[in-house]
């Protein structure tokens, strides 16, 4: 069953996407400098240099979270995946938002090479985007949050039960958006942008 699902273009896309997100999120975390640079090692992914977490727990967290999303991405339920950085008071300071759009009705097979080509540009763009981001205060923390289009029915699968509603604090005002990269390579549309709190709010 699992195997057959993965053979559909959506399954294929979802697998590529999950793998990519894992790498990209690690790169984001590296970029933000939450951990010392020594906590990461240089690796090649899709033939570009990326950073991978060395710490097994960190690696596991990213891996498990994103792989947990796989079935939902396949079903097209995940709208956005955000990497949120908080200050010590749990107020979000910066969000890296991956906005996903998978065309569920897409029928034919996907050229993974094309997909890789587009995804690669995210990684290279990400590695030079530090200037767009804000410096984090010490003692900040981060988490991965997924925004669903609809709530997965609890009890339908055990993966769904792993997900709980988030208690992340929200901004009072709509955030400021800084796009980093967009791609639209049928059947996958992926956009990465930054969200910052509105100026008035950040003063609070």
């Amino acid at each position: 069953m699992e195997r057959r699902e993965n053979q559909t273009p959506q399954g294929q896309i979802a697998r590529v996407l999950v793998e990519f997100l894992e790498v990209a999120i690690a790169s984001v975390v590296f970029l933000k400098g939450v951990y010392p640079s020594g906590a990461f090692e240089r690796r090649r992914y899709m033939n570009v240099v990326v950073q991978r977490a060395c710490h097994p727990q960190l690696r596991y967290y990213i891996h498990a979270t994103i792989s947990g999303l796989l079935p939902f991405i396949q079903k097209g339920m995940v709208e956005r995946v955000a990497v949120i950085f908080f200050n010590a008071n749990d107020v979000p300071l910066e969000k890296f938002v991956f906005m996903l759009g998978v065309n569920l009705s897409y029928g034919s097979t996907v050229e993974e090479v094309d997909l890789q080509f587009s995804l690669r540009s995210f990684l290279s763009k990400l590695s030079i985007s530090e200037s767009l981001t804000k410096k984090l205060p010490p003692d900040s923390r981060w988490e991965i949050t997924a925004y669903f289009r609809s709530l997965p029915e609890a009890g339908t699968s055990k993966e769904a039960n792993l997900w709980i509603p988030s208690d992340t604090k929200q901004w009072q005002q709509p955030p400021l958006i800084t796009p980093i990269k967009s791609m639209n390579c049928e059947p996958l549309c992926l956009q990465l942008y930054l969200e910052h709190p509105c100026l008035s709010e950040s003063l609070l």
Binding site: V34, P36, S37, G101, E143, I144, A146, I177, E186, C198
Partner: protein, 1141 residues
């Protein structure tokens, strides 16, 4: 994603925001702690760390013992040393595990990978490790032997030597291919294409020496084998030296040698040079049968060999007749009047190789047949066009009837029509009858096919399948005769015939009087059989596709009708390769999708077919699998290129051979062009080069496994001249830098064809000229058919003054006309000086320029020296003349009182005003509703209209992209020149100023179009709209759209504008309208892109913000759109876009 979903998800207590938290928070705190710890430790001490950065230092024991590096250089040496040690260690471990490591094919190779490569540098390093090569992390000209890269920045390409230190720059595929073939391949073919090939190759020098040497060895070999006939072997050598190997003369005394030499050859088959040397002799060797040869003589020689022993004293001609008697094919053999006298058929030995090659090529016969057909059965121009609309109607309504007539195994049945006894015997047509040969069967009759003999098979294989197969040579005269008979029958029976090939045609009988198409088909077939003695099959169906499929069923000698009801049945089981346009490649691709029949193909949606196979092919597959075919019978395609390819028997010994061959190829191509009445501008030379690792081809003298190289050049003037062709080809050939000995085939093609009648009249203005002649003919009463005069004036470089004088005196004018026409007739190939575009000439390379100058007897220099002045004055002159004529004509047409001739100046003035008035209309009209006045079309000296408003949008849309870009590019330049020349021409130009002023001022009426979608279509609608706009900035935007490579992203257009921004800034009054329309454009763009590509919008608005700081126009636009943008972003992303500059 909708607005709602986001809004709710951003609400504080939304349940839709989920976070993965099975242990996330604990990890978080752990990680934070450890991170903090690490940070602290890093600061205090550098010992005992697991982090990478410190690990580097602690591992390097040497560095801890020695003092720190004194400078960067010593650091690098140390680093390199360590990298080498690492590499060696890895290499030794990988070589110990012998099973994984390959043989050391890269021994002595040390690569340096530069930049991003497609197998990554690490993979390449792995290969190097595994196969005994070296990998350098840092470039050093002493250690590196090859630089590997896939792409080089421009600066490195320009300064290649500085970058590569003279080392070869090779693509990574070299390594992959070498690994794949398990030996070190030469890197030469893998050189980076970006590099200009400006180094002469040594091979050119070597080849001469090589040929000498191998000739010697050949002679020596012969001497060793048969010392007592060294005399004759010397003669063989001599004859080859002279390239005229009269085989009859050489062979007779030395036929013994040939047998001996045969052994030599087979012993040294890999000594290719040797073999080439031997071709003239090798003709007689059994192993090396020259088959599929370029002349009948090949057969003669083989027969000769068979009879050699008894008849070795006979001259070869008598042998021929003897053999042919024996073989009972005397008719064919006696038809050898056209047979070339030369006995050899490689480029090496036959000086008339090219001619003979095509004389005996079946494909050439088919290819050139169409021209003969065109001449014989010219398309009836009357009546045909009228019917096209009918055809359309009928195909739509679905009751069309198309008959496809195809002769049964044409090439065989024509040859054996006079041999009734062979009718049910297996017969094939082929160049050669040698049963061991590798000539390809070109056609086989049905009895032969039942043995499994197919076209394209080697004779030896066919003979193995069917030993009593009778093989005939081609008889081209007979083919021509039968094809002509065939077509005269078809043309008699039906007035809509589309010839497909010499033996195959479509008839559209929808509107013929015949009631039953089956009856008609059978009567046609009967008549064909009675007239030609050959059978034909017919398929009847509703369109060309189905008719052709029906013929498949009908064959041989039958007919079949697929009625619309039966189409589906018929298609469902039809294998996909039966569809036209489905070849091997497409078939293979479809097979991987598990599609074998049309029925299976029918199940795939059109969209996914188009996705997989491209728009056109996908649509074709979709249509064809359903039996839909919208082609019309009689739609003929103009040929797009004319050329000649030779890929059999091409072997060169040195450059001289090759040049000789190219010369004759040019002659052939030129003849073909002339016979089609065409001239071309783009010339491409294709070369088949033997692959480095390819063996001698299975087919004797064939091309074998080759790589195809090609170069092409476009010249400004179409030509069919042999000498020009030869020069171009020589130049093209020079671009290849190829060892002539590796060439296995050469082809030359001419494209961008123009009909020679029109192109003879000169440059692109010919259309106007023809228009003019007709125009002036209609104005015979007019005393000033000035249109013809202006050529002469321009040619002499007359100034404005002179022209005004001319206008006054009609007598002088008439003289000029006479002169002009006479001189125009005299000049045949080079166009009149005035037709030359000064701009082009100025940009020609010096050598071409001097050559052209010679052709024009030195006038060219003067012409160019006058430069700008002439071009401007002449164009203005022409304009004025044209305008005058336009006015005159209009007067005549409208029967207005003519302006007195005595007053030319006022007339010009009046006319200028009027012309400008007319011009201003389309120019200022960005609204499509503006009427294009008739007189505006008279203003120009060529067919380019004054603005896009006069261009039929539908026509423009159908044009190929590049052409479109050229046309659109052309327009503004053209217009600008026009305006300034007009200014220069008329001194009292107040009126003109007014006219120009009108143009620059804004027009109302661009607002009412705001509703329609500006981004629809390709190019998007706004481009056209802006093009014709009066606002310079808008025009610039449209122009930039074409410059930006038609990518249809606004950001690329805006990027283009940066470079020309200063031009835009030259203080123009900006109207609200142009601001409004730009705002609308941006709004629509936001609407299109916001959902999927916010990055694009972000880029655009950042650019706009930059522009806004400098330009009032863009500031207005930016401010106008910004609120809308934020609203859209908020709707889609729940935030506002932060735009920084």
């Amino acid at each position: 994603m909708s607005l709602d979903s986001f809004r709710s998800s951003s609400a504080p207590n939304s349940k839709r925001t989920l976070s993965f938290s099975n242990s996330a928070s604990s990890i978080r705190s752990n990680d934070n702690n450890s991170a903090n710890n690490k940070r602290k430790k890093m600061k205090t001490t550098a010992t005992n760390q697991k982090t990478l950065g410190v690990a580097w230092g602690s591992n390097s024991s040497s560095s801890s013992r020695k003092p720190p590096f004194s400078d960067f250089g010593s650091y690098m040496t140390e680093k390199n040393r360590k990298l080498h040690n690492q590499f060696n260690a890895e290499a030794s471990t990988s070589s110990f595990s012998a099973s994984t490591s390959g043989k050391p094919i890269f021994a002595g190779v040390s690569i340096f990978v530069d930049g991003f490569t497609v197998p990554s540098s690490q993979e390449l390093r792995g290969y190097m490790l595994k196969y005994g090569g070296r990998f350098e992390n840092y470039f050093s000209r002493h250690r590196v032997t090859h630089i590997i890269c896939t792409n080089l920045p421009d600066s490195k390409v320009k300064n290649l030597r500085a970058f590569s230190a003279g080392l070869p720059v090779v693509k990574p595929t070299w390594i992959l291919d070498s690994v794949a073939s398990n030996r070190l391949l030469t890197w030469v073919p893998y050189q980076l294409e970006q590099l200009p090939n400006n180094q002469p190759k040594l091979s050119a020098f070597f080849s001469l020496r090589n040929s000498k040497m191998s000739e010697d060895t050949f002679t020596n070999a012969l001497c060793q084998v048969e010392p007592d006939i060294e005399d004759s072997s010397a003669r063989v050598g001599n004859s080859k030296d002279r390239y005229s190997s009269d085989v009859a003369k050489v062979v007779e005394p030395s036929w013994q040698i040939t047998i001996e030499a045969d052994d030599v050859v087979s012993e040294n088959t890999d000594a290719i040079m040797m073999e080439e040397q031997l071709t003239s002799v090798g003709v007689k060797c059994d192993e090396e049968d020259p088959v599929g040869g370029s002349n009948d003589a090949a057969k003669d020689v083989m027969n000769f060999q068979g009879e050699l022993k008894p008849n070795n004293e006979e001259p070869s001609t008598s042998v021929t007749s003897l053999c042919s008697n024996d073989q009972n094919v005397n008719e064919i053999a006696s038809s050898s009047s056209t047979r070339p006298s030369k006995q050899c058929h490689s480029t090496l030995s036959d000086p008339n190789f090219v001619e003979n090659y095509f004389k005996s090529s079946r494909l050439h016969f088919i290819g050139t047949w169409r021209n003969r057909y065109r001449k014989r059965f010219p398309i009836p121009s009357t009546g045909f066009d009228n019917e096209i609309s009918n055809i359309n109607a009928s195909t739509v309504s679905g009751n069309a009837v198309v008959i496809h007539v195809d002769m049964d195994c044409f090439f065989v049945s024509v040859v054996i029509r006079n041999h009734p006894e062979l009718l049910d015997k297996p017969v094939a047509v082929c160049h050669s009858n040698n049963s061991k040969g590798t000539a390809e069967i070109s056609s086989a009759n049905y009895p032969a096919r039942s043995y499994g003999i197919r076209a394209g098979m080697f004779v030896r294989d066919a003979k193995a399948l069917c030993p009593h197969l009778v093989i005939f040579p081609y008889n081209f005269e007979a083919y021509e005769e039968v094809a002509d008979q065939f077509y005269s029958i078809l043309h008699r029976c039906c007035n809509k015939v589309q010839a497909v090939s010499c033996d195959e045609a479509f008839l559209d009988v929808t509107h013929s009087k015949v009631e039953d198409p089956e009856l008609l088909a059978s009567s046609i077939r009967k008549e064909i059989y009675e007239t030609t003695g050959c059978t034909a099959s017919a398929g009847i169906a509703g369109n060309m596709l189905m008719a052709r499929i029906a013929t498949r069923t009908a064959k041989p000698d039958g007919q079949y009708h697929i009625t619309p009801e039966r189409v589906e049945d018929h298609l469902s089981q039809l294998p996909i390769n039966a569809l036209p346009g489905v070849g091997h490649v497409l078939q293979e691709k479809l097979k991987t999708q598990n599609v074998h029949t049309c029925g299976q193909l029918m199940m795939i949606s059109k969209v996914s077919l188009q996705k997989d196979y491209g728009m056109k092919t996908g649509e074709m597959l979709w249509n064809y699998s359903r039996g839909i075919d919208n082609r019309l019978v009689g739609d003929f395609q103009e040929c797009k290129s004319i050329g000649a390819d030779v890929n059999w028997g091409v072997r060169f010994k040195d450059m001289k051979d090759c040049e000789k061959f190219l010369t004759s190829l040019c002659k052939e191509v030129s003849l073909r062009l002339q016979s089609c009445g065409m001239q071309g501008r783009t010339f491409s030379l294709k070369i088949k080069k033997k692959r480095k690792d390819a063996d001698e081809p299975a087919k004797f003298m064939g091309c074998g496994d080759c790589e195809n190289l090609s170069h092409s050049v476009t010249i400004p003037l179409a030509t069919d001249n042999v000498e020009v062709l030869q020069r171009i080809v020589k130049q093209l050939f020079g671009n290849f830098y190829i060892d002539v000995k590796e060439i296995r085939g050469i082809g030359m093609h001419v494209s961008r064809l123009e009909s020679s009648e029109t192109s003879k009249q000169g440059a692109e203005k010919y259309n106007l000229k023809s228009w003019f002649t007709s125009g002036s003919a209609s104005m015979e009463k007019q005393k000033h058919p000035i249109g013809n005069g202006h050529d002469k004036q321009n040619m002499d470089g007359t100034s404005v003054l002179e022209s005004s004088a001319l206008q006054g005196s009609s007598v002088q004018m008439d003289n000029n006309i006479q002169d002009n026409q006479a001189s125009a007739d005299r000049i045949s190939t080079p166009p009149p000086l005035c037709h030359l575009d000064a701009e082009v000439i100025r940009n020609l390379p010096p050598e071409v320029f001097s050559e052209l100058n010679e052709i024009y007897g030195g006038k060219l220099v003067d012409y160019i020296a006058k430069g700008e002045g002439i071009s401007e004055s002449s164009s203005s002159l022409r304009n004025s003349l044209l305008e005058q004529e336009a006015i005159n004509k209009k007067e005549e047409l409208l029967d207005v009182e003519p302006i007195p001739q005595k007053n030319p100046l006022t007339k010009i003035e009046a006319m200028q005003n009027e012309a400008e008035g007319g011009e201003a209309v389309p120019d200022s009209g960005s609204g499509p509703s503006f009427n294009v006045t008739r007189n505006s079309s008279f203003e120009k000296d060529d067919l380019l209209p004054s603005s896009l408003s006069q261009v039929d949008g539908s026509v423009l849309r159908e044009l190929p992209e590049d052409l479109k870009a050229v046309i659109v590019q052309q327009l503004p330049a053209h217009r600008r020149q026009e305006i300034c020349s007009n200014v220069a021409l008329v001194p009292p130009n107040e009126n003109l100023q007014v006219a120009l002023g009108v143009k620059n001022s804004e027009n109302p009426g661009s607002t009412h179009v705001l509703n329609e979608s500006l981004w629809a279509g390709n190019p998007p609608k706004w481009v056209e709209k802006f093009k014709i706009s009066s606002c310079l900035i808008l025009k610039k935007l449209a122009e930039m759209y074409y410059k930006s490579g038609l990518t249809s992203t606004l950001s690329s257009v805006l990027y283009q504008i940066i470079s020309e921004f200063h031009q835009l800034n030259l203080a123009h009054q900006i109207s609200d309208d142009s601001v409004n329309i730009t705002c609308e454009l941006l709004k629509q763009y936001i609407k299109v892109k916001i959902g999927k590509d916010i990055e694009e919008i972000y880029i655009c608005f950042r650019l706009l913000k930059r522009f806004a700081a400098k330009s009032h126009f863009f500031l207005q636009v930016y401010n106008g759109v910004f609120p809308y943008l934020q609203e859209a972003v908020d709707d889609n992303y729940g935030g506002s876009l932060l735009i920084t500059r």
